[in-house]
Symmetry: D2
Subunit: 267 residues, 4 copies
């Protein structure tokens, strides 16, 4: 038989059973972002060697909700939307590596397995969660519009506990959609060793960015964010000391791989 | 204590624990409709006395997917969107009652409990299902637009079986969004008697319509629809003999009660 | 056509599409019960006319978790277990009606639609929730046994918020499984009027009991219970003033209708 | 900061946010197994180098449903059972490696994220699915017993499509629980390279076995199995040519790492 086909597991001769097809992957969706400052020491707790705190505003955090439709090159998922739609909530900080500033996703929850599998490839530490985000709609009976006064809520739960919730009321157009998630991502991809107590069998620091990113007009406004405790999460350790801003925008993007920055294991 | 407060169960002195607040209820959402003709005898099987087949085109059926955001008067659900978003797939036929033509929902699946409770009030025979529908988005990376060539899929499953799926490719603007779901709804509301084998304790034929209905431009195109069998469903008995058309549009509406047409039990 | 067939909606000529078949319904399952005392005034808030507080121990409350397998007469659900297994968490108080003591379920959450439909018939105010309960198992690697030291947890969430959680550590056999849920149930069955603001179209006070109830040895032990707040629930108003006891047992039972105690609407 | 703590992602200084704690992992559960023969060429399609078909009965396949409770060393998951209970359905074949026979899981679906993460560590190709399996219970109202005539159903769905279903009616005690899943597991653990189109960054063939496996009396009987097609699965290519047997048993076991057989990438 030799080599089987397929990008990720399970690989087969036909190559159609894999949990995800190969990149590129395409995305259209809506982002609700809350940026705030926490104690930089709490960010530092989440940065393994060889990463360090970002030089400027090292305690800046972005908590982001995203309501996505996604697909691979043949776009077949779009006509069977149980395979293309997913929601996620994630936390991004910035870090420094060899004098460059990177963004880094430190926590993330999604609601589909294909999103988990993509995340493992990309170094996003994905768990399952229940994520909800108010949608804009042309008819206002039960929906905000993306404009002054538009009110958007967002919630995250996992393990049957609510972990975070936000409310953003739009006020005005914004030149930016925030700054914390604006750099290339620096992520670790790890595989613990198979023997009990052994070191990592594989560990690599990689960088990646979206390709062909497009963004609609961003809006900013008044925002509230609450984080809740859970015995299996550390999200609420990133205590909200000062809100920087809240943002809403619609985006389209794609992803087609990244670059290895450093192989950490096996050396 | 006397009377408790709240629209539907459970009622309490405070009145805040009820599964749904009182109407009016407000809706913003996207509809994908497939109309087709089946054997009128199969429609007749679903019409209890005193309803009869519609005089014109009595075998016409509409299978409709809807992706909703909804709320009640205080709009609190919109900021906690797990309580406002739901999806549904439903089948509508037409019928005749005292010389008037009505629409009638004969099967419907939703994915939230508040939608089930509203449906019981309105006479929709709601079950739980898993419903998915392609979403339009301003950015085309992983989304159709509402325009020529826009391709939308929709699926329905219940009991871990796929029950229906459709694909609609838009071609041109349409003067209508179909005709089968265009009349006031004539629904039965029933409560079986509590004693084993007893007749209905309550049965009423009611009519209702949306209030303040608004609709964006409707589109039509090429459509495919497939229905699958299940031991606990009869959906596939409404065999697709001839496709009438497929339609896509965005709507906003509200609902604020209906009228009793006839009390059937207790007499 | 005349009368259609089927116990509850949707009714059809074939009668196989209904959300639930007719009773009798059969149940095998495991119960974890926590009984405690709250302020009787808080129980009174949940008792509509013509019910009153129970004469003895009027503030007694039972919070019960149940992990069920269930079926109807043809037992077909047992071989397609997505249709037979469900979990529930519910709160029972006692009340007095015409000099007799009844049990009454004031809040209940389940995780399947057939359970909601049965509950509407029986007057249980069912919502959807996420319910989990530790299971005993013959092999102890990852399970308690029903015996001294056996530790059982139970949780309830709805709307992506945790509402209640309990831990029970068994100590000894118990002569009872508690007393709060030990009477016939007195429930209201209601259907709000279809016209906006109208009185109930149907309201009936009914009584019912299980048939052929069997119970294994009950166990009691040390128990903790926590209730959490939610904007759409009043569960935490039933404040835990004093724990009465915690119980675990396995049961089998059936249900085959009840009796009308009083028709309240239409009069 | 240096090294962070935690077994798998996300790693933090505190080490409590990881998707799974380190092994050992403990399991108590019920297994329903159907063994059958397919065309060995179809098994061969699933065996990458350096694996080959097993020498004896190379077309033998086991489709297994498991209803698990599981935990790690501190057993905290058992008292918050949303974190300990999960169900899975998986397909096992046998293969030959350096003259030894191994079992190998070629497809598997689970319903929790911690089970996905454990599977990635162990080389199980886990996707999300909806899995249901009839439970035995001491009270027969709505449950089989593990004994003659006991009837157990099992179903698997993913992507809102039913993929497999089985019915097993027990007849007699069995000396074995089947033979296909009886060897150490030989699994690949892979991480695709981060650059588009690059070879695997990590690929290792590993072996592992349960530790301290205990099994109750196994039963065998009459069994039916059906596999269904899906555009994203190849399960039904393992066509059922001849049923070998059906088995039911309860087990307890643990897992505490494995051994590397061969590093395939990076070389």
């Amino acid at each position: 038989m030799g080599a089987l086909n397929g990008f990720f597991y399970p690989r087969t001769e036909l190559g159609t059973a894999g949990v995800i097809p190969a990149p590129p992957w395409f995305y259209s969706g809506d982002l609700l972002t809350v940026e705030y400052r926490t104690d930089p020491a709490r960010v530092r707790e989440l940065l393994p060697d060889p990463l360090d705190l970002a030089e400027e505003d090292p305690g800046a955090v972005a908590m982001i909700w995203a309501d996505w439709q996604s697909c691979s090159t043949d776009r077949a998922e779009l006509l069977d939307p149980v395979r293309s739609q997913y929601k996620e909530a994630f936390v991004v900080v910035r870090c420094s590596y060899r004098g460059q500033t990177y963004s880094r996703c430190v926590y993330i929850w999604v609601d589909k397995d294909f999103a988990i599998a993509r995340g493992i490839h990309q170094g996003y530490p994905k768990k399952l969660g229940s994520i909800w985000q108010t949608r804009p709609h042309p008819f206002a009976q039960a929906a905000p519009q993306i404009g002054p006064g538009g009110a958007f809520g967002a919630t995250l739960a996992a393990g049957d506990r609510r972990l975070a919730e936000a409310v953003l009321v739009l006020r005005e157009e914004s030149a930016t959609n925030g700054f914390v998630n604006g750099h290339p991502m620096a992520h670790h991809r790890i595989y613990p060793g198979i023997e009990a107590g052994s070191p990592d069998a594989y560990s690599e620091l990689i960088a990646s960015s979206g390709v062909g990113f497009q963004r609609g007009q961003a809006w900013t406004g008044d925002v509230e964010l609450r984080l809740f405790e859970s015995p299996t999460e550390e999200l609420d350790r990133l205590r909200i000391d000062e809100i920087i801003g809240g943002y809403y925008c619609q985006v389209g993007t794609s992803w087609n791989g990244g670059q290895s920055l450093e192989r950490l294991a096996p050396l």
